[in-house]
């Protein structure tokens, strides 16, 4: 029978080794991102894939989240006569938290999985080896464009998600909860502060970076054919979602702790 301490120790050492490998990979990726050659055409392609093609899923998520938020806040706040706070709470809740986190989670599933599957397939079919033999650094050609594109486009997606989410709350507010349109919009605008949006956009950039990093890392290290690519895809999604939730706490602390 295994010694329980040995099991814990082995688990801890494996965890540290995995963190070390990820840190080395992140370091090499960042070095590749900030040194020439820069593949602007690939960055543009990835911005299209990550940003533009994710608009429908992120927009729909934001629309219904804003709508449900307005409904729930109205139902809850009516218990103590604070129904007028609905526009204020909707806009702050969306811009600070729900916009970036939900967009991040949706992108983690959609984009993280796609990156891991693509790079994983390239790894097991020797395409990454072929890149190297053709004197092309895969960190510069494959990883850096995805990191740059995800880090730049996720804030733009979150900005759109914020606007659509507020619109979802507004539609429920005026059609379902009998708010006056002008009053709802004025309350939303008056209550919103620059830091609410800024913190959400910074979170979005962090989430975008983490999603692309985890997708690239797991895809890059996949092995064992189709099963290995499947495992890499699952690992990329799970790890990026966990890292989004953990980093969300720390970015929130950095912005709003007293």
């Amino acid at each position: 029978m295994n010694n329980p301490l040995a099991v814990v120790g082995r688990f801890f050492l494996n965890f540290l080794a995995a963190v070390g490998r990820l840190a080395v990979f992140a370091g090499r990726s960042l070095a590749a991102t900030f040194s020439p050659p820069f593949y602007f055409r690939l960055i543009g392609q990835q911005m299209l894939v990550i940003g533009y093609y994710s608009l429908p899923v992120v927009g729909l998520t934001a629309l219904f989240t804003g709508a449900v938020l307005a409904l729930q806040i109205f139902l809850g706040s009516s218990r103590f006569g604070a129904e007028s706070a609905v526009p204020n709470i909707v806009v702050v809740g969306l811009t600070r938290e729900l916009g970036p986190v939900l967009a991040g989670l949706m992108l983690g599933g959609r984009v993280g999985a796609a990156i891991a599957a693509e790079l994983g397939t390239m790894r097991v079919t020797e395409q990454i080896d072929a890149l190297i033999t053709l004197q092309t650094n895969p960190f510069k050609y494959l990883v850096a464009p995805r990191l740059v594109a995800a880090t730049l486009t996720t804030p733009l997606l979150v900005l759109v998600a914020d606007i659509i989410g507020v619109m979802g709350g507004y539609l429920v507010g005026i059609h379902r909860l009998d708010f006056n349109s002008m009053v709802y919009l004025k309350n939303t605008y008056d209550f919103l502060e620059a830091i609410d949006v800024e913190s959400g956009l910074v979170k979005a950039a962090v989430f975008g970076f983490l999603i692309a990093l985890m997708g690239c890392y797991h895809g890059f290290h996949s092995k064992g054919g189709a099963q290995g690519v499947g495992r890499a895809t699952t690992d990329a999604v799970v790890s990026s979602l966990i890292l989004i939730l953990i980093s969300n706490y720390f970015v929130t602390e950095a912005f709003f702790s007293q």
């Binding site: 072929a130 033999t133 004197q135």
Partner: protein
């Protein structure tokens, strides 16, 4: 004056954990020579190629290209050495996200920094050399058959006119006729370029067509090497068993 070998491996060792794959491998290729390394599956033929290309790092031993030690080279130094190489991968390893001509021209555009229009013209010329028309140039590689993929892979391997070309199982997965077509294309293209080639295969028909010299890899070492016309009478029981595909013999095969 003794000519420096194009490629020289001395005492190369590579293990994955407890599994020793290369155990003091020695091999030399002269300039313009075509050497085929034969051996059963899992004997380390691909690992040997990956060690030479720097995709894997051997634990011990020396690998010299034109007399220059390449073990441990990194970054720009490694990329400089890689300009001497072309490679046809077992699965062709074509990039699915770009067209056929962009695959062939990839090393010219990304590696050598050539103008894309000039590189496109060279790519179409190389495609013609492997029997593919210019009308194929814009097509998606994912739609190609196995034989076509190998041809495009061969065109990509010779596009930069390298000094050394590796062929990793060039006929695996192909029918005998297409295998023969690929073998002949390899011989023609290599003759035109005057390149040194190292091929790994367990297809004896391929080996007899391509090789000037054959070497047999077993137990992590080259256990026999000689001219291709000597192979049938070499007297080495391992080689004899392998080339005749006999079950009985000195090979210890793990049949589970």
């Amino acid at each position: 004056m003794i000519e420096v070998p194009r490629l020289q491996l001395s005492g190369v060792c590579k293990a994955f954990g407890a599994n020793v794959v290369l155990d003091g491998l020695d091999l030399e290729l002269a300039k313009g020579e075509s050497v085929v390394v034969i051996g059963a599956s899992g004997t380390g033929k691909s690992v040997m190629l990956k060690c030479i290309l720097g995709l894997l790092r051997p634990e011990r031993g020396s690998i010299r290209i034109d007399g220059e030690e390449v073990v441990g080279l990194r970054g720009a130094e490694r990329e400089r050495v890689l300009t001497k190489f072309g490679m046809l991968f077992q699965s062709a390893a074509l990039f699915d996200s770009i067209s056929i001509w962009e695959n062939v021209a990839f090393g010219l555009i990304e590696g050598a920094g050539m103008d894309p229009e000039q590189a496109r013209a060279i790519a179409i010329d190389k495609l013609a050399k492997v029997g593919l028309g210019a009308d194929m140039a814009e097509q998606d590689p994912a739609r190609l058959s196995g034989g076509m993929r190998k041809r495009v892979g061969l065109a990509r391997a010779i596009a930069t006119e390298p000094d050394i070309i590796f062929f990793d199982e060039p006929t695996t997965g192909l029918d005998p006729i297409m295998g023969d077509v690929i073998n002949n294309l390899i011989v023609e293209c290599v003759r035109d370029l005057g390149a040194t080639t190292l091929t790994i295969t367990h297809d004896m028909s391929s080996a007899r067509t391509i090789a000037d010299r054959v070497a047999m890899l077993y137990g992590g070492q080259i256990i026999w090497a000689g001219r291709v016309d000597e192979i049938d009478s070499c007297g080495n029981p391992f080689v004899d068993q392998f080339i005749h595909g006999r079950e009985e013999g000195p090979f210890e095969l793990e049949v589970t």
